[in-house]
Subunit: 163 residues, 2 copies
DNA sequence: AACTAATCAACAATCATTGTTGATAACGGC
DNA sequence: GCCGTTATCAACAATGATTGTTGATTAGTT
């Protein structure tokens, strides 16, 4: 993630104006947790700058992704997650709380050279793991409850489960 | 994918009745392409058994997935894809036509033992590749057009692009 | 044959996301 | 500091996939 100032610069270069709303989004992205959905970002933005519409947040996020400063992740969690980690990494989706955890690429080994034989060409490859995140895993191992209660956490209640 | 008869048997064992509608879905799944969305399955089902509602197809697919005979795949293509390939494999999503291609696991190498250090636990790991499928790749290499026209094919028009 | 489950049609609702519109605000080049 | 061009706003509608509902009808299974 680049600094808000760097992003502002990029926007100016792209002939996009640097408005307070956009700056607010830039700042929120830098501080917040790793993979927020648009709703969450909006909630944070409104805290510092009220009256910013959700509509505008969607807009800014889209612009950021078009500039390559952000990656839109659809991991089947119901809403798109915005990933500002620009380094090589993979993801783990927590089955219990829906959190998305970054998995540094160096902890994994992924090769798919043989795939070319199928006649396809691969531009990106991402490893999507499912399991339990660290906090949920810790909680589960001690309390040993939840056999399978969590179906799919909705975006509403998805405000940082571990806080 | 098990045979329609085998699936019927499983349904009976689960105290689920084997209706013509369900059988029709079973049969369609065996014959059709690899990763249909519910709408596509419905279209095929209606061909052999009219008056089957989309509602019912969703229902049957859900039951199949609850029995573990089917995997619901959300690859960010807009709709859930139903995967009846029960062997170890990964997926490639074609950026151009939206097709989902099976990639046999033996063509790849995926390891993530080091991930345990993060305190998380992994139950499944799937490699999601993006690129171009074989037909699109062949077409693209000769005609060399499409710089980036296809934004996101919608389900409606997504009836087997290569037929 | 009877009990129960499944299906139907027809509709409404959900949820994330994008489009629209007309009015207001404000960035940035001069 | 002015002005033209963009951005943003509120408020609303629409999309598209999916699930819920309801009351009536059909049809497996024992």
């Amino acid at each position: 993630m680049r600094s808000p100032e760097a992003l502002a610069q990029r926007f100016r270069e792209a002939n996009l104006k640097v408005t307070p709303q956009r700056m607010a989004v830039f700042e929120v992205l830098g501080t917040g947790p790793g993979h927020p959905a648009a709703e969450q970002i909006h909630r944070s933005v409104v805290e510092k700058l009220p009256n910013v519409s959700l509509r505008t947040v969607y807009q800014v996020l889209r612009e950021l992704s078009e500039l390559g400063e952000l990656v839109m992740l659809d991991l089947g969690t119901g809403a798109v997650r915005y990933d500002h980690n620009l380094t090589q990494h993979h993801h783990l989706v927590c089955d219990e709380c829906g959190a998305v955890v970054d998995i540094p690429a160096h902890l994994t080994e992924v090769q798919y050279a043989g795939v070319a034989d199928l006649g396809v060409s691969v531009s990106t490859a991402e490893l999507v793991m499912r399991g339990t995140c660290s906090p949920c895993h810790a909680a589960g191992s001690t309390t040993a409850e939840s056999t399978k209660p969590s179906s799919q956490p909705t975006m509403q209640q998805l405000g940082d489960p571990h806080a």
